[in-house]
């Protein structure tokens, strides 16, 4: 019997006091590790340039393959009091560098940014997000940084250093990029790249809203929508912009978050884009290099109240263990975070109320988001970073706050209830990345917040069991992104993308309750079907793609 089964029993017995006691235990301790001195410098100005309130991303990756997760943090830049294109964001100043922190064996971190050759973010780039993937299948994770300006692809040389290969790869994009993610849309074994773009915005078209004397950031509807970008990996270190040919560029929106999964089990990875204050996009992969946007007709565009969510972050995983990937989209307050339940046969229904998010959200703005099994009971919980867009929101609505604590929502067999995070520290939260930082089998969280250091939520752990899987693709892409992995009735879709502007630990973590062993079933993007029986619990395993099913 798991802790939650016990809770259910107590509920039926009316043992309210017991429940309170059991729920009293916090899951995390907020513990800033030694060596991480990064501050997300967004440089807010009285002119309320919209870019100031949107950064920044974080990635959890093992860049040197030493078995310990490292942390990459995207910084923003110095915003001049009066912006004029081209803008110099002073990114050569170390205060505004992106930072790579290598995790040491003693769980401290060392800043290796300069050593790794990552100190040059581009002076005209105001930093936003990060995506991680091994695009050249050489076994070392590469880093793609999105910006307002030009994006940058850093190739991991495998010796602790990176090389800026943006020009050669042809993935600079331009405009205002937000979240990005690597995935293999054509199942050719090479990771392609999807980049969301937020607005058609320039310093010259910037404006402020709000009252005279109390300006605030303008809502996205004040600026024209723009297109997202899909880059196809040619397999030779270069990419081709196929946004138009694939149909991705046919739709304009206010893209912020992106997540991938094969929602209709047709063997091809689909794309969900969280759009801010417009209909959400669900790009169905037609399997022939093209996509059709089907969000509205499949029930994944609007909330259950029929409203267009102010989509920020998104995660595309199965929360109710029915084997189908569902969507959790964070958004602005006064509406709950949106849950699109995958009903099968390619259709979704908005079920934020049925899942309990109506009761526990709606008071805050949500950004980074993850569906991870934090208590290893076999049900994925939700963690959402919060904080309002407007740094002066209290002046306009006294019931809202600029700084807010994250939301931990524990999953009780598909119904979510607020859990004890272990900290109510309010921050202007933005990015969030999920992974097992200390390799103890319990998922940790690192979040970013404007003007502050990142927060490290270290899982206190417990007695329940777990299994963490690293995929190694052979015919499929080496990261195994796009694989569907099932463990003891739970399903995860292999990806590092999701959340907001951030990139997660690519390892697949499963809480398996009291089970001593697990059956593992993998459907690789190549079509290979692989089954492992009786895999011992509480271990990290690497599964290499077999030659045939």
């Amino acid at each position: 019997m798991t802790r939650r089964d016990l809770l259910s029993l107590f509920v039926s017995l009316g043992a309210v006091a017991q429940i309170t006691k059991l729920k009293g235990g916090s899951l995390f301790k907020v513990d800033p590790p030694k060596g991480v001195d990064f501050v997300l410098r967004n440089s807010p100005t009285p002119r309320k340039y919209l870019i100031e309130t949107m950064p920044g991303g974080i990635a959890l990756l093992d860049y040197n393959n030493d078995g310990f997760l490292d942390v990459f943090l995207v910084n923003a830049g110095r915003v001049p009091a009066r912006m004029r294109s081209p803008v110099d964001f002073d990114r050569r100043n170390p205060s505004y560098w992106n930072r790579l922190y290598r995790q040491n064996k003693d769980k401290t971190f060392t800043d290796v940014t300069a050593q790794a050759g990552l100190q040059n973010a581009g002076d005209a780039n105001y930093g936003m997000g990060v995506a991680v993937g091994d695009y050249d299948n050489d076994g070392f994770p590469d880093i793609y940084v999105t910006n307002f300006g030009k994006n940058v692809l850093y190739h991991n040389n495998g010796d602790g250093t990176f090389t800026d290969v943006t020009a050669k790869a042809g993935v600079a994009a331009g405009g205002w990029s937000a979240s990005a993610g690597f995935f293999d849309y054509d199942n050719d074994g090479n990771l392609d790249l999807f980049v969301t773009r937020y607005l058609d915005w320039t310093p010259e078209t910037s404006k402020t809203c709000g009252r005279v004397g109390d300006p605030m950031y303008c809502p996205p509807g004040e600026f024209p929508p723009t297109t997202n970008i899909l880059y196809r990996n040619r397999g030779n270190g270069t990419f081709e912009d196929v946004s138009a040919d694939s149909g991705i560029a046919a739709k304009k929106g206010h893209g912020l978050g992106v997540a991938f999964a094969d929602y209709d089990s047709d063997g091809f990875t689909d794309i969900f884009v969280a759009n801010d204050a417009t209909e959400q996009f669900l790009f169905h992969n037609n399997g022939n290099g093209t996509f059709t946007e089907v969000a509205l007709d499949s029930g994944a565009a609007l909330s259950s109240s029929g409203k267009m969510p102010s989509g920020m972050g998104v995660v595309f995983q199965d929360y109710d263990n029915d084997g189908l990937p569902d969507l959790l989209v964070t958004q602005l307050p006064h509406e709950p975070y949106v849950v699109f339940h995958n009903d099968g046969k390619g259709s979704f229904s908005a079920q934020e109320l049925e899942t309990g998010f109506g009761a526990i959200s709606g008071k805050s703005s949500g950004w980074g988001v993850g569906l991870e099994d934090f208590d290893n009971d076999g049900w994925k919980d939700a963690f959402i970073v919060q904080g309002h867009v407007f740094d002066n929101v209290e002046m306009y609505d006294s019931s809202l706050r600029y700084r807010d604590a994250p939301l931990l929502a524990l999953n009780y067999r598909g119904h979510f209830e607020k859990g004890d995070l272990g900290s109510n520290l309010p921050t202007a939260g933005r990015g969030a990345a999920f992974g097992d930082l200390n390799n103890d089998g319990w998922i940790d969280v690192v979040t970013t917040s404007l003007g502050e250091r990142p927060q490290f939520y270290l899982n206190r752990g417990g007695k329940l069991h777990w299994l963490t899987i690293t995929l190694r693709g052979k015919r499929s892409n080496r990261d195994g992104f796009g694989a569907r992995v099932q463990v003891n009735g739970q399903t995860r879709f292999a990806t590092a993308a999701g959340s907001y502007l951030s990139s997660n630990d690519k390892r697949l973590h499963f809480g398996i309750g009291k089970a001593e062993s697990a059956d593992v079933e993998i459907r690789w993007p190549s079509g290979v079907h692989q089954v492992l029986h009786g895999v011992k619990a509480n271990q990290f395993i690497t599964i290499e793609e077999s030659e045939r099913s």
């Binding site: 509205l296 007709d297 499949s298 029930g299 609007l302 259950s304 109240s305 029929g306 307050p333 006064h334 709950p336 009903d343 046969k345 259709s347 229904s349 908005a350 079920q351 109320l353 049925e354 899942t355 309990g356 998010f357 109506g358 009761a359 959200s361 709606g362 008071k363 306009y396 609505d397 006294s398 019931s399 119904h415």
Partner: protein, 358 residues
Amino acid sequence: MIRALLSVYLFLQMQVAGPRVTPEVSRLLQSGSDAESRNEFDRAIADFRKAADLDPSSTVVLLSLGDAYVKKQDYAAAISPLKRAAELSPDSLPIHQLLGYALLSEGYAAEAIPHLQIAHDSGALGIAQLQADQPAEAIVNLRAALSKNPADPDLLYYLSRAGSALSSQSEDKLLLSFPQNTRAHEVLGQHYYAMKMLPEAVKEYEQALAQRPDLPGLRMELGEIYAARSEWVQAEEQFREETKLQSGNAEAAYRLGDTLLQEGKMTEAAEKLHRSDLLRPDMPETLYSLARATIVSNPASAELALNRVIEIEKQTPLAGQAYLLVAGIHRKQGKTEQAMREMAEYHRIQTLTSRGRE
């Protein structure tokens, strides 16, 4: 309205014009009237002024001059000759009416009132009373005027303003005279709520409830504030108490049901919303929330409720949302074509709504 009504008085001057004027004055009156009929008001005014110089005690001359000024929309200049005309002919209704209009147009509402009372012009009188801070009296006269012209948009506008003004005046009196009274706290709570000062509003309602916990309506209003803050547990508590106080109140049952819906307590939400529908049938919002509460557990019942919403609302945004939910039910049931038809209806209503906004 005033300008339109003034034209009616063109002919009235003839009724009050005395017969004994000199031929020169008569000629000037005629010449002025001719110019006026050609909209040459400056020339008309010049003729009437000459006539007034020649015969300063002629009511018809003074009225003609005042009327010409009014037509020229120079109300300030009209007041003096019309006042003199009223002194000379205190029983003349047209003179008082025209003078009342001129004074009202210049912002002398209080001074206009006695003249409009003499003229028995309830519409203009109501407007003057509203502007003179007499909303209760204004409402009586505006309603009387509306009974004669029920589709007059100006009268409807002023009646609405008078209603608000009376409400404000009563509230001010309540707050000044009984600042610690339950109702005073309630009114303050309403004001804070309107100003989005929700914590302050809650405080006022809590003070009101401390005094009169059983006063119907208070908990419903407080519950709405909590609901606006997405504080559903507190909202539920208040709405639940309200339904105990007013078990036959459909609105209270709806609010409780809708709050339970937000909390994901679908079974009880459906029960309360169903009760609300029984108490006051065919309220579209109730039916829509009822559908949302039952859409997973009982899609057939949800579909019935949504179809009723569509029947009642036809092409409103709520009807569009109902189509969206029905399409979801049918999509889940594999009725793809039906779902597509409903989505087409949804899109059609969306287009209509956005055109309406434009």
